[in-house]
């Protein structure tokens, strides 16, 4: 009875919060309503839907030994405390993605993004992570690619591999572009990011040669050094030599990042990657907690409308296209992210102690990421809309100076004076904030407004936030290049054995160079793109991420059908249908739309025709070279969008064939590990219940 009252209250709070968000017109709504709507919905989703999936659909069995218990070697397989594993899993899935997507999607208003982040995570993202984790755990931690090959066949396997590799390349290019846009012409930012490299190296050597395994100690030292790097950045930037040494052009930053990516990928893990990972995890959890406290303490008002006119007309300056389908590909991480299937089918399943714990680790971990996305959305929606557009429009649209930028924003229907623009930049210690696209700087402004309301200056928090986001991104650049290199070495290793040996030096250098070259190409093209690289590349990133999610959901559905759970297959089919609809609609518009702002080929034709007609400038492209650049970029991007859509169709058709065969056969066909009885006992949820405590006491 008490339970029922509590859940009734949670539902009532949630319903009230949603009503306030949906019905508010004209007046400012407090960000607290988004938080309440999110938390109440998560609680209900976790209590009822996640429970249903875990116990009814997947039928987890706590008498069954997990791979961690069976194959325990004390190193990569070992039963890990669920609270520790929750933290590790969360740190592995949440990076810069949930921070960037919602900021860009704020152009459509706060409501579409809020709805998608919260409903999407409950019915799609968290379900995907949970189901993939379950099936991989029942198969000794087999990867998504291996499961696709085993269950669907070679076509599925190849599609999963190609999908994973291409999303990696686009993802790295987009994230690196975010860093370039945040750091170009910002000596303070560039200095503090550059300092993360010697700090990580110091930590690596310290752990390797002086203090083995003292991870906490070295992480604290590293975090203190990082804060010092941010603080001293102002002094460096204001000194003559510092400004000269650390004011970099976008092109220089691209070369530096590509070089860094290559070196980081060939260096041993302990030197750079491992310490960076420690530092990232440390900062991630710290800053997210800080932001949550900041939002709760200041309860800022949302300054964006529920829906902007861009939502219907599709003429938004940040990401082209209407609300459907583009909100759903712009926000991937936080609502539904195919990338997570790679984590949920790799390291995590080898460490789970008890089957029922996957509910909190898989589903709960994704809810936590979704909450990060909600906070990023809030941070973007509380800043002045005029400033938001000034930061997120392509430089060419804003024109050469503050006056032209102010005019361009007035044309959109928002007001910000040139004085306000220069004051906003001065507030955060930058010379300009115009066209700092990519989401990270906007989020940093939002964070600085929230946290400076409590302690410290806006300039400090802005650069702290930029450093923190770039730190994640550089860790992803490092890890992603390495994962891509392993995939490449593994694939080519099938035909040329020597190449598959990951420690063979020539192969190591060659495969690293190929991966770095691939994302470096898109990064360079993005920086040089007169139409704004983020505007062009972000939809491709979203499409490729949702493509990977489609592959993961297809593998999950196949497994549900094959293992005799067909009557519950709708659990993954519903998000799959939605995801395929979104991905294919987005690809269709990107390929076939006759609006040159949306369709890549329409854009290509527009510029090609102008070139053929002998014109020497068009729109944002100021000369023939730039026009040719647009033609080349839109061709490559258009071909990729078409390719991703084809890949989804091929794997879906192949999987449906397997589903039909399996349903006709009517017998359970499983690739699961055999049942072995468990000798362990452990609680299921994050908090140990009284009954579980009694049981543990009785056993010990």
């Amino acid at each position: 009875m008490r339970q029922k009252v509590i859940w009734f209250l949670v539902a009532a709070v949630g319903a009230l919060a949603w009503a306030v968000l949906a019905l508010a017109r004209g007046e400012h709504v407090s960000a607290a309503w988004i938080l309440f709507a999110a938390l109440a919905s998560y609680a209900i989703g976790y209590r009822f839907y996640a429970r249903f999936i875990t116990y009814r659909v997947l039928r987890v069995d706590d008498t069954r030994a997990t791979p961690a218990e069976l194959k325990n070697n004390g190193i990569d397989f070992h039963p890990t405390d669920r609270r520790v594993l929750f933290g590790h899993h969360f740190a592995a899935i949440a990076g810069a993605g949930p921070l960037v997507g919602p900021v860009l999607a704020a152009q459509w208003g706060y409501l579409p993004s809020t709805l998608w982040i919260i409903i999407g995570v409950i019915f799609a993202g968290a379900v995907q992570d949970l189901v993939v984790l379950f099936f991989s755990m029942r198969r000794s931690g087999r990867s998504l690619g291996q499961m696709a090959r085993d269950e669907i066949g070679p076509v599925g396997g190849v599609a999963a591999l190609v999908g994973a590799l291409s999303i990696m390349v686009i993802l790295l290019a987009v994230l690196a572009l975010v860093v370039v846009n945040a750091l170009a012409g910002s000596p303070w930012g560039t200095f503090s990011i550059a300092m993360t490299i010697p700090i990580a190296l110091f930590m690596g050597f310290y752990l390797r040669y002086f203090r083995f395994g003292k991870v906490m100690e070295v992480s604290v030292i590293g975090a203190v050094l990082l804060v010092l790097a941010v603080v001293s950045g102002r002094w460096v930037a204001e000194s003559g030599w510092g400004a000269a040494a650390f004011t970099w052009s976008p092109e220089t930053l691209v070369l530096a990042l590509v070089g860094y990516g290559f070196v980081a990928s060939v260096l041993p893990v302990w030197m750079l990657l491992a310490p960076r990972d420690y530092l990232s995890a440390f900062m991630k959890i710290g800053v997210i907690a800080l932001l949550a406290v900041g939002i709760l303490a200041t309860l800022p008002d949302l300054r964006t409308e529920a829906f902007t006119s861009f939502a219907w007309e599709g003429n938004g300056p940040v990401v082209a296209g209407a609300l459907f389908p583009f909100v759903f590909i712009t926000i991937a991480c936080g609502a539904l992210s195919g990338f997570h299937a790679l984590v949920a089918s790799g390291t995590t399943p080898k460490l789970v102690e008890k089957e029922s714990q996957i509910r909190v680790i898989g589903y709960g971990g994704m809810l936590a990421e979704s909450f990060v996305a909600v906070m990023a959305l809030i941070a973007a929606c509380i800043i002045d809309p005029g400033l938001y557009y000034a930061m997120n429009m392509p430089a060419a649209t804003l024109g050469p100076n503050l006056e032209s930028a102010s005019q361009a924003i007035a044309n959109l229907g928002f007001t910000i004076t040139p004085e306000q623009l220069s004051a906003a930049a001065a507030d955060v210690g930058e010379s300009t904030l115009l066209s700092r696209t990519g989401g990270a700087p906007t989020l940093a402004v939002g964070i600085s407004e929230i946290l400076a309301g409590i302690i410290g200056s806006k300039a400090f928090w802005y650069h702290f936030a930029v450093m923190f986001e770039a730190l994640f991104i550089l860790t992803t650049v490092d890890a992603g290049t390495r994962i891509g290199r392993f995939m490449l070495q593994d694939t080519i290793g099938n035909v040329w054995k020597k190449f598959g040996d990951v420690s063979w030096k020539p192969g190591l250098y060659l495969s690293s160079a190929v991966i770095v070259g691939a994302w470096g190409y898109f990064l360079w093209a993005g920086v040089k793109d007169p139409l704004g690289g983020i505007n062009q590349l972000f939809p491709l990133f979203g499409i490729s991420n949702q493509l990977l999610a489609a592959i993961a959901l297809i593998v999950c559905t196949t497994l549900l059908i094959k293992t005799g759970r067909a009557r519950y297959a709708w659990v993954t089919i519903i998000p799959l249908v939605w995801d395929v609809a979104v991905t294919l609609t987005a690809s269709w518009q990107k390929v076939f739309s006759s609006d040159p702002k949306i369709g890549f080929f329409a854009q290509r034709d527009l510029y090609q025709d102008a070139l053929d007609a002998g014109k020497t400038s068009l729109g944002s492209a100021k000369n023939v070279d730039e026009m040719e650049q647009v033609v080349l970029n839109s061709t490559v991007d258009g071909v990729l969008a078409a390719f991703f859509a084809l890949l989804v169709i091929v794997i879906l058709v192949d999987a449906v064939r397997v589903w039909i065969i399996s349903l006709r056969r009517r017998e359970v066909d499983t690739t699961e590990d055999p049942y072995v009885e468990s000798e362990l006992y452990a609680p299921s949820g994050l908090i140990t219940t009284a009954e579980e405590r009694r049981k543990m006491k009785a056993l010990s």
């Binding site: 004390g74 302990w270 491992a274 992803t476």
Partner: protein, 55 residues
């Protein structure tokens, strides 16, 4: 939760307790057999670490 169990959990989370956990595992599963010396253990652990991290 007591401070003590919280501290232990935190050390497990950061990885500080990994060698202790490895020794506990060896003692329970393979008693009397030789174990890796601490330095060796940490090297093996970092070097075999798969890259994690996501978007």
């Amino acid at each position: 939760m007591t401070w003590r169990s919280f501290w232990r959990l935190l050390r497990e989370f950061t990885g500080d307790r990994a060698y202790e956990q490895y020794l506990e595992h060896r003692a329970a599963a393979h008693p009397g057999e030789p174990v890796l010396p601490e330095k060796e253990f940490w090297r093996l652990r970092t070097d075999s670490r798969p890259p994690s991290g996501c978007c």
